[in-house]
């Protein structure tokens, strides 16, 4: 009960932070204040909050779960590549978004696209695709909340109740605090998981008898030694993962967050410290996820390892339902929590649980971003604010926060897929393939609205096709099933983790296709007028 009480105290604290931000904002309330914290965030809050916004349930639970199954490759796949690509994209693109936002008053990326490419309804199409792609990422947060509280309470709090509680808390502080409340909570969250990630590693390491001993044993066990190398994935698959971090700057919540800095110089510290923060969070998570393979004295982890062994031994002979059941049991999304629960003293379980909750609740920024986009890109654009006034606009934003959270929760109850797969396959891949939109808008004078439309339609169709294929072709128990072959070359295959195109993640052909379409369609259609271009170049 003590861990649950500490987590409960943490949840009350973040709701209070939201309400405190609400009270502070009352005197100068307005859309820009609610949605962008009045473009006034200082360097400390900006750095930590921006990092916290990128660290979600995926980073903590998904990464340790993926490392539990796939080994150390998880760190190279997502952490070290993100540590390079995300700061670079903030340096080259984030700073320009900030500058244009301050000069022209933009509050969302779609506002910038509409102005840059002299379009109206095409902007609405971009909004719709961005919104649809963002919802899975929000669901990840709710799923993580349910998983975390269920694990921390030893099943006392069921998954559905944990997810509901987390959704309610996030909804509350976003509803009241807007961007200011969200940024403050994210700052607190980042400080918490920076502080306790390392602590978790030390405590679990001592409990397991020292990591040197654990990894030496793994090296001596052939079935587990492979987890300490990257031989479970191909170098091409590894390379294709470097496209995924392109999604970060294309996510609307990151683009919008770039507008909240008071000064451009706040980006300097962010891009330098970002890789170090990545190291501080991801290394312990991956490390613990891999080490969990030796934690057979933890009953829940033993059950996962047994399910994995059954799958490996008799997978092809099992029917699809049995395989799916075993995969769910073997999934490592709660492995970090199981380790902490088993090895840490009871007070520390609560603190560490609260830290994990902090990461899980980073979906707040996405909820707020969607609310901002809805009110600015749809409600205001189609005359709502002019007709009903700015106060109604803010209330619409709050109503949207409530509705969105309820929808995400309802979906989270029905989606059994692993946190990592869900997030990476749809939201990350889609936004990575949308990144050429930003690059074209900011760096290529000749880009046009028709090029932008072609990119958005291509990405939407591509993601829908990937989702449809994965739904209709069951995951194989063993090596990938080739779906389409030309001259002995596998064009499309279905692997356990999802669809592969030329043995690469679908994000690669999607992104390359986006670049080509933007180029070909833009050069075939009229460029924006010189007055518009003069404001951008």
């Amino acid at each position: 009960m003590i861990p649950l009480a500490i987590v409960g105290l943490y949840l009350v604290t973040v709701v209070y932070v939201g309400v405190f931000a609400f009270r502070r904002a009352e005197r100068k309330a307005g859309a820009e204040d609610f949605f962008l914290a009045g473009r006034s965030l200082g360097p400390f809050v900006f750095v930590l909050s921006l990092f916290g916004t990128n660290m979600t349930a995926f980073s903590i639970l998904g990464s340790s779960g993926h490392a539990f199954t796939n080994g150390i490759v998880t760190y190279g796949l997502m952490a070290s590549s993100s540590a390079l690509i995300i700061p670079l994209s903030l340096f080259f693109i984030g700073t320009r978004i900030w500058s244009l936002g301050h000069r022209h008053g933009f509050m969302t990326p779609v506002q910038m696209f509409r102005d840059r490419w002299e379009c109206g309804h095409i902007g609405t199409v971009i909004f719709a695709v961005q919104a649809i792609l963002l919802v899975p990422y929000i669901i990840v947060g709710v799923m993580g909340g349910g998983t975390t509280l269920a694990a921390l309470s030893g099943g006392l709090v069921p998954y559905w109740a944990g997810g509901a509680l987390v959704a309610l808390v996030v909804m509350s502080y976003v509803f009241f605090g807007g961007m200011r409340g969200t940024a403050w909570v994210n700052t607190l969250q980042t400080l918490m998981f920076l502080a306790f990630g390392l602590l978790a590693m030390v405590v679990v390491g001592v409990g397991m008898g020292g990591f040197g001993h654990v990894f030496s044993e793994m090296l001596d066990t052939p079935a587990q030694a492979a987890l300490l190398t990257r031989e479970r994935v191909s170098p091409w698959y590894f390379f294709s993962y470097t496209f995924i971090p392109l999604s970060s700057i294309a996510f609307p919540h990151i683009g919008i967050f770039c507008l909240t800095a008071k000064k451009l110089s706040h980006f300097k510290r962010t891009v330098v410290l970002y890789p170090i923060c990545m190291l501080a969070i991801w290394l312990p998570c991956v490390f613990l996820g891999v080490a969990a393979n030796r934690a057979t004295e933890v009953p829940a982890i033993k059950a996962k390892l047994d399910a994995r062994a059954t799958l490996a031994a008799g997978g092809p002979a099992l029917d699809a339902a049995a395989r799916d059941g075993l995969r769910r049991t073997a999934s490592g999304d709660d492995v970090m929590l199981r380790l902490v629960e088993h090895y840490a003293p009871v007070w520390l379980i609560g603190l560490l649980g609260a830290s994990v909750m902090a990461a899980v609740m980073a979906s707040d920024s996405q909820i707020l971003a969607l609310s901002t986009m809805f009110t600015e890109d749809v409600f205001t654009f189609y005359g709502g604010t002019a007709r009903f006034g700015p106060n109604v606009q803010v209330q619409m934003g709050r109503l949207f926060v409530v509705l969105l959270t309820l929808v995400a929760y309802a979906i989270a109850l029905r989606v059994p897929q692993s946190i990592f797969d869900l997030a990476s396959q749809f939201a990350f891949a889609g936004y990575s393939a949308l990144a050429p939109l930003l690059a074209a808008a900011l760096f290529w004078r000749r880009s046009t609205k028709w090029g932008a439309l072609a990119v958005v339609v291509w990405v939407a169709a591509g993601i829908a096709a990937v989702a449809a294929i994965q739904m209709h072709v069951p995951a194989p128990a063993g090596p990938p099933t080739v779906l389409w072959e030309v001259g002995g070359l596998a064009v499309a295959s279905r692997a356990a983790a999802g669809l592969l195109v030329f043995n690469l993640l679908p994000v690669v052909p999607l992104t390359i296709g986006s670049v080509l379409l933007m180029w070909l369609v833009s050069i075939a259609t009229p460029a924006p007028g010189p007055r518009t271009l003069a404001r951008y170049f």
Partner: protein, 66 residues
């Protein structure tokens, strides 16, 4: 141009195929060599970013005329 080339080389260093199947040695007695490499790579990124900020900061964007 030289900077762009340098960034490309740095990106290529992320694809460390030469360590693909190596698990030994355990750096500091605990870190498999592939993981230690990428941890060091992450720290090196921070240094590269510090150099970029120092030499190529887009200061022309800093004066908003809103």
């Amino acid at each position: 141009m030289l900077t762009a080339l340098g960034l490309l080389v740095f990106f290529a260093l992320h694809q460390d195929v030469w360590l693909w199947r190596e698990s030994r040695p355990l750096v500091f007695g605990v870190l498999p060599v592939g993981l230690a490499y990428h941890a060091a790579y992450t720290l090196a990124v921070s240094i590269v970013m510090a150099v970029l900020v120092r030499l190529y900061w887009p200061s022309h964007l800093e004066e908003p005329d809103r």
